[in-house]
């Protein structure tokens, strides 16, 4: 697959302009400036144009269908339609870009929230033995349960943390969510273990 070095709209518009000037499809590929060299070389070698078109990596894959009857008839109506379609693509690209940029702001917000909640939950998970033993500690001055690092409580905290991260990532329409959850597991465990060691040093049992 060959990627174009311009947007689909520009490519289509250029080709349509060249066709309008009376060139055929092959020549308009040569004349338009933003066609990658690889395509031109393949054209010069005599490869079938239709094969080449189907190997171009358009962001709208259905675009190659537009060329299906361009070499059939050189009517101006067809060209007019190709041009209108390219305008439509541009409008779509613009509105999608708008969406992208407004999502970007939210993504930044979501990222901050994600990290803050992740650290807080992990900290609470780390300190949880103190909380859960609070009553017994107040009344008897002793901790009843041990400070083992892997308890059911810490596992359920880890699940809550993972879910929270998952939902926030999904809300931001991010990609590669599963991969991003791996550092969460590592960070969570690191914080929990760190806090536990801190408590163990602080409170002699």
């Amino acid at each position: 697959m060959i990627r174009l070095n311009c947007t689909d709209f520009n490519f289509l518009n250029n080709i349509a302009l060249k066709l309008e000037n009376g060139e055929n499809l092959e020549r308009s590929f040569f004349l338009s400036e933003n066609v990658p060299k690889e395509i031109l070389t393949r054209l010069q070698l005599g490869e079938n144009l239709l094969d080449i078109i189907s190997s171009i990596d358009f962001s709208y894959p259905a675009l190659r269908n537009l060329f299906s009857s361009v070499d059939y008839a050189d009517e101006t109506e067809i060209l007019e339609r190709v041009k209108t379609t390219s305008k439509l693509i541009r409008m779509r690209e613009e509105v999608l870009k708008e969406k992208e940029s407004s999502l970007k702001i939210h993504r930044r917000r979501l990222k901050i929230i994600r990290y803050v909640t992740m650290f807080t939950i992990a900290m609470i998970a780390g300190f949880s033995p103190i909380f859960s033993n609070l009553y017994s500690f107040i009344s008897t001055g002793e901790f009843t349960s041990s400070f083992s690092i892997w308890s059911i409580l810490s596992v359920s905290f880890l699940i809550i943390n993972l879910l929270n991260n998952y939902y926030l990532l999904k809300m931001g329409n991010e990609e590669g969510i599963k991969l991003r959850l791996v550092p969460v597991i590592l960070l969570h465990s690191a914080i929990v273990v760190g806090v536990r060691f801190f408590i163990l040093n602080l409170i002699p049992i």
Binding site: P61, R64, S69, T84, F131, L153, N164, M171
Partner: protein, 267 residues
């Protein structure tokens, strides 16, 4: 021409469903079942049935685990295992739901190009079967479109009524504008010159996120924090009852995501 549905087109794979299928699909897919019916493949249905059946298994296992192993009384064990199986069903079926929705969206995004190239082909060839053929020879990347138009060409070649095919064939687009365009493919005005609906749709999506993000953030921040505080204060740290909280959170979070999705696809 009969409308093709990929939910029924592939080979018949029979799989027993313990729950009534209609209720299960309704629960798992919700609004999507109606909205993207065409895009639900037999494999999706099979997976949903699998999830439904295994959620019952999940229920039994968690009940046995909680009641006999940790020795809590029957009602609490029942409640916990019920929550466990519901969250299992919800979370996993949401995964399938999103996959179906993505498939549908990708399909709709290219619809206008398909119609426009068809209408350009019509201008060039003046024959509907020939234009469909041209459309197919260029190779449509989307396998749903390919299959759809192949079937259409097949029934055209069999000599079925062309006007009828054109009339019914537009149903695939699920968008009134595209549907009428396709139905008018033989006339000059089939060409799509602007699609305000797409722009409105995207804008609506942006607005939806902007409006609901505060609610979502509040819920997704406060809920896990409050849950974890309650957890650590009230419960002994090694009772499996604790697992009820992450499970509850999973149900809540999935429901919120689902709510957003529904708002996005609804009118």
């Amino acid at each position: 021409m009969k409308t093709i549905n990929y939910g029924k087109s592939s080979s018949k794979v029979t799989q027993l469903s313990i729950f009534p299928k209609a209720i299960l699909y309704r629960l798992a897919l919700g609004k999507v079942e109606k909205h993207s019916k065409f895009f639900i493949s037999e494999k999706d249905y099979r997976n949903i049935r699998l999830i439904g059946n295994s959620s019952l298994l999940f229920f039994v296992i968690s009940f046995v685990l909680f009641h006999y192993v940790t020795l809590i009384n029957v009602p609490i064990a029942l409640i916990i295992s019920l929550i466990a199986s519901i969250s299992f069903l919800f979370v996993l079926s949401d995964y399938i739901r999103t996959k179906i929705l993505n498939r549908h969206q990708k399909f709709e995004e290219t619809a206008f190009l398909i119609i426009n190239s068809l209408s350009i082909n019509m201008v060039a060839t003046q024959s509907f079967p020939h234009s469909v053929e041209l459309l197919l020879t260029k190779g449509i990347k989307d396998k749903y479109y390919t299959k759809y138009f192949q079937d259409m060409l097949y029934s055209l070649n069999l000599g079925e009524n062309e006007d009828e095919i054109i009339n019914n064939g537009g149903k695939i687009f699920l968008n009134k504008q595209y549907e009428t365009s396709f139905q008018n493919i033989k006339n000059e005005n089939a060409f799509i010159e602007s699609d305000p609906e797409f722009i409105l749709y995207i804008r609506k999506g942006i607005k939806l996120i902007e409006d609901n993000i505060v609610i979502f953030i509040a819920v997704s921040c406060l809920l896990p924090l409050v849950l974890s505080m309650v957890l650590s204060f009230l419960l002994p740290s090694n009772s499996p009852t604790i697992f009820i909280f992450p499970l509850l959170y999973a149900v809540f979070g999935t429901l919120i995501l689902r709510f957003m999705n529904n708002k996005n696809i609804g009118d």
